[in-house]
C-alpha cells in the first residue's frame, strides 16, 4: 500500500486541507505587519524619547516584548505553520490527520497572540527574554502545542509514502524541542493569576533561560525555516535538493550542537567557567552544520541561477539563505569570549539578530508567501513588479539596519571600555555615549521603516491577488519532486 502510493502517482488536490493553510498565510502577513510596526515605534523611541508618549502602556520596556513576541511567535510562528500544513500534506500524500485539531491549533495560536498583545502593554510580563508571557498564557501555549504535535505525528502516521522528506525532519525537531524548551523554562510558582516566580533562581535561572532563549533562535527561527527552505526552494527552483547526504549530516549536527550554545549569552558572568567555555566551543562548531544547510540550499540552484533575474520568489529565497549563512558566521564569531567582551550589551547584538530575523526569517517568509498565495487562491500574483520592488526595498532596509547597528555597537563597546592615559575611564559619563548613538538610531529607523513598507506592499499585493480574477491553469497539485 505504502509502496504503491509512493510510486509518484499524484494525489488529487482536493484531498488536501488548504483552507487551514490559507488562514495561517493571512495571519502571517497581518501579524507580520503589526509586529514590524511595533518595531518601528520602539526604534523611534530610542532616537526620540517623547515617542514613549508619557503613558504606562506605550513605554519601550513594555512594547519591546510585544515587538519580539509578535515577530517571532506571530509572524515567524504563523509562516512556519503555513508552510508545514501546506508541505507536509503534499510530502506525505495525505490530508492532515484531524481537521478539528488543525482549527484548534490555528484559533488557539491566534488567541495566544492576542492575549500577548493585551498583556504586555498592561505591564504583565515575566521579564525573561523571549519568555515574557505570564503563566496562564504559558499553559495555553503548552496545550495548543500538544494539539499541534498530535496532529503532526498523526499525519506522519497515516502517510501514504514510506520515506520522510528532509523538510519534515526539521519540522519534527521544531515540534519536539520547542515543547521541551517551553515547559522546562517556564516552570514557575504562581503568586496570583497574573504573576509567578520561576522555580530556578539567580545564575541557574539565567542558564535555563538562555538555554531556552538561544534555542528559541535555534528551533523556532532556524530548524522550521530550514524545513521551509528544503521544500519551497527546490519547488521554486524546479531542481532537486543538491545533496541528500549533506542534509542528513547537517540535520543531526545542527540539532545536537545547537542546544549546547546557550551559555554564550552569559560569558564573563558568574556562571561556572566550564559551562561558559562549553557554550563558546559549541557555538563555534555550530558554524559547520549551519553552513551545511546554507550550501545545500544555494547549490540546489545550480543551473537555475539565471531565473533569479525574473523570479521574485527566488530573489527573496537566495538573499534569505545568504543572510542565514552570514548571521550563522557572525554568531559563532560573537561567541568567542574576547569578541563577546566587546560586542555584548551593545547594538551590535541587535544588528546581528536583525540580519537573521529580517534577512533570513523575513526573506524566506516572503518567498514562501509569494510562491504560495497565487497557488492557494489559484490566481496569478496581482502585481509581480511590486514584489520585485518589495525585494529591493527590504534588502536596502536590512543593509541600512545592520550596518548602522554594527557601527553603533562597535562605537559604544569601544567607548565604554576606553581607558585614558591616567588610567581613568576615557568616557566616564555614560550619557555622553548615548548621545553619540542618536544618528545611528535614526539610520536604523530608516532601514526598519523601509522593511516595514515592503511588508505593507506585500500585504497590498496579496489583497489584490486574492480579490483578483481566477487563473486559467494551476500547478498547485503538481507532484512533489523526489528528494
Amino acid at each position: 500500500m505504502e509502496e504503491s502510493a509512493s510510486a509518484g502517482t499524484g494525489v488529487p488536490a482536493a484531498v488536501y486541507d488548504d483552507d487551514i493553510v490559507k488562514r495561517f498565510a493571512i495571519a502571517t502577513i497581518l501579524w507580520g505587519a503589526v509586529g514590524m510596526l511595533v518595531g518601528v515605534i520602539i526604534a523611534l523611541q530610542l532616537a526620540w524619547w517623547p515617542a514613549n508618549l508619557g503613558l504606562p502602556w506605550t513605554t519601550f520596556g513594555r512594547l519591546r516584548p510585544l515587538h519580539t513576541n509578535a515577530v517571532i511567535f506571530a509572524f515567524g510562528g504563523n509562516i512556519c505553520f503555513t508552510g508545514i500544513y501546506y508541505s507536509m500534506q503534499r510530502l506525505l500524500k495525505t490530508r492532515m490527520w484531524s481537521d478539528a485539531l488543525s482549527k484548534i491549533h490555528f484559533w488557539g495560536w491566534q488567541l495566544i497572540i492576542v492575549s500577548a498583545a493585551l498583556t504586555f502593554p498592561l505591564g504583565l510580563s515575566q521579564s525573561r527574554e523571549y519568555a515574557e508571557l505570564i503563566w496562564p498564557i504559558d499553559i495555553a501555549i503548552t496545550l495548543i502545542w500538544v494539539v499541534f504535535a498530535i496532529n503532526f505525528f498523526g499525519t506522519i502516521a497515516i502517510r501514504r509514502v514510506k520515506h520522510i522528506y528532509v523538510a519534515i525532519w526539521f519540522y519534527m525537531s521544531f515540534v519536539i524541542t520547542i515543547a521541551v524548551l517551553h515547559i522546562v523554562n517556564n516552570l514557575a510558582m504562581p503568586a496570583t493569576f497574573l504573576r509567578s516566580y520561576p522555580l530556578y533562581s539567580g545564575m541557574t535561572d539565567a542558564l535555563v533561560q538562555w538555554w531556552y532563549g538561544h534555542n528559541a533562535v535555534g528551533f523556532f527561527l532556524t530548524t522550521p525555516f530550514l524545513g521551509l527552505m528544503y521544500y519551497f526552494l527546490p519547488k521554486a527552483a524546479e531542481k532537486p535538493i543538491y545533496s541528500y547526504r549533506l542534509s542528513i549530516v547537517h540535520f543531526w549536527g545542527l540539532i545536537f550542537l545547537y542546544i549546547w550554545a546557550g551559555p554564550h549569552h552569559l560569558l564573563y558572568s558568574g556562571l561556572p567557567d566550564w559551562v561558559q567555555t562549553l557554550g563558546m566551543v559549541f557555538s563555534i562548531v555550530l558554524l559547520a552544520p549551519s553552513w551545511g544547510g546554507m550550501l545545500n540550499g544555494l547549490l540546489t540552484l545550480r543551473g537555475a541561477w539565471h531565473r533569479l533575474r525574473t523570479d521574485p520568489v527566488l530573489k527573496f529565497m537566495v538573499v534569505g539563505v545568504s543572510f542565514y549563512g552570514m548571521s550563522t558566521f557572525e554568531g559563532p564569531m560573537m561567541s568567542i569570549r574576547a569578541v563577546n567582551g566587546l560586542a555584548h550589551f551593545t547594538n551590535w547584538v541587535i544588528g546581528h539578530v536583525h540580519s537573521g530575523a529580517l534577512g533570513w526569517n523575513g526573506m524566506i517568509s516572503f518567498a514562501v508567501l509569494y510562491w504560495l498565495v497565487p497557488r492557494l487562491w489559484n490566481k496569478p500574483l496581482a502585481k509581480p513588479n511590486l514584489a520585485t520592488q518589495h525585494f529591493w526595498l527590504a534588502t536596502i532596509g536590512i543593509v541600512l539596519y545592520t550596518v548602522s547597528m554594527w557601527a553603533a555597537g562597535l562605537m559604544e563597546g569601544l567607548q565604554w571600555r576606553a581607558i585614558g592615559d591616567g588610567g581613568q575611564l576615557a568616557n566616564p559619563i555614560f550619557i555622553d555615549i548615548v548621545h553619540r548613538l542618536e544618528p545611528f538610531y535614526w539610520l536604523r529607523l530608516l532601514g526598519g521603516s523601509l522593511y516595514f513598507v515592503g511588508a505593507l506592499m506585500a500585504l497590498y499585493n496579496f489583497w489584490k491577488t486574492i480579490r483578483g480574477p481566477e487563473s486559467v491553469s494551476t500547478d498547485a497539485s503538481a507532484p512533489v519532486p523526489a528528494t
Partner: protein, 242 residues
C-alpha cells in the same frame, strides 16, 4: 524505491541506512532526535542543581517586603530591556560600576534580571549610589537628574499604590520556591512595608518631597537602593578591593 534520488551514487549507500532506520520508522526517528536535543542541556544545566554548581553566601539575605514590591514593578515595567544587572570582570566595568558581579549575589533573584542590553547604564551596584530623592526625581523626569537621558518618565509610579495583600501573595510564592521567609516575615508584611516605606518617605521629606509609604515609587526606590549592597558588604568583609 520509487522516490530514490538518482543524482548521486554515493548518497544511495548513506541514504539506505538513514531511510531504513529513521525515515521509515517515525517513532525511532523521534526518539533519537529527542535524545540528540536533550544531551547538551542535561550536561550543562543539571550540575547547577548540585552544591558545587551554584555558589551561595550567608551574607546575602532575601529582599524585604517593600523590596519585593519594588522588584515586581521593575520586572513588570521591563527595566531589564535597557539596564543590565551584571558587572563583568573587566577593568573599565569595575571602574565605571564597581566590583564585578558574583554568582551568589543573585541567589534570591527570581526571575534573574541580568539583562542583555545597556541602553542605559548597569544597575547592579546602583544601591546607595544616589540619595532617595535623586531616584524620585529621576523616575518623575529622567532629564531633571540626567540631562539628555533617553529614558521615558515613569510618573505613574508616583501615584500608583502597592497592596500589602499582593506583596504577601508574592512572598508566599517566593517561599514555596525556596526563599527562606519565616512565618513572621509573611505575617508582618504590612508592618514591614510601613516601617521601611516610612523611612524612605522621611528622607524624601528632608529633601522637600511629599510622598506616602504605600506609593509604587517608594517600593521602587527601596529595591534600587538594595541592589548590590549585600554583595558589596560581603566583598569588603572578604577584603576584596575595588
Amino acid at each position: 524505491m520509487a522516490d530514490e534520488t538518482k543524482n548521486h551514487g554515493s548518497e544511495k549507500k548513506y541514504g539506505q541506512f538513514h531511510r531504513r532506520v529513521f525515515e521509515a520508522n517515525i517513532v525511532n526517528f523521534a526518539i533519537w532526535a529527542t535524545i540528540a536535543i536533550l544531551i547538551g542541556g542535561i550536561v550543562e544545566i543539571v550540575p547547577m542543581f548540585t552544591p558545587a554548581g551554584t555558589e551561595i553566601s550567608p551574607d546575602v539575605t532575601p529582599y524585604t517586603a517593600l523590596e519585593v514590591a519594588g522588584r515586581d514593578i521593575y520586572v513588570s515595567e521591563g527595566c531589564y530591556l535597557c539596564h543590565s544587572q551584571w558587572v563583568r570582570p573587566m577593568r573599565a566595568e569595575i571602574l565605571r560600576y564597581g566590583a564585578w558581579s558574583r554568582a551568589w549575589e543573585y541567589q534570591y533573584d527570581r526571575p534573574f534580571q541580568l539583562g542583555s542590553r545597556r541602553i542605559g547604564p548597569d544597575l547592579h551596584r546602583v544601591g546607595n549610589k544616589y540619595p532617595d530623592a535623586w531616584h524620585y526625581e529621576h523616575m518623575r523626569d529622567p532629564r531633571s537628574t540626567s540631562p539628555g537621558s533617553v529614558m521615558p518618565p515613569y510618573a505613574w509610579l508616583l501615584t500608583n499604590r502597592i497592596d500589602a495583600g499582593d506583596v504577601q501573595a508574592s512572598m508566599k510564592a517566593l517561599r514555596k520556591t525556596g526563599t527562606p521567609y519565616s512565618d513572621e516575615d509573611i505575617a508582618g508584611v504590612e508592618a514591614s512595608l510601613a516601617t521601611q516605606g516610612g523611612e524612605i518617605v522621611g528622607r524624601l521629606g528632608d529633601a522637600g518631597i511629599q510622598s506616602d509609604p504605600d506609593r509604587a515609587i517608594i517600593a521602587m526606590i527601596a529595591y534600587l537602593q538594595r541592589l548590590g549592597v549585600d554583595g558589596r558588604a560581603a566583598l569588603q568583609k572578604q577584603g576584596v578591593e575595588y
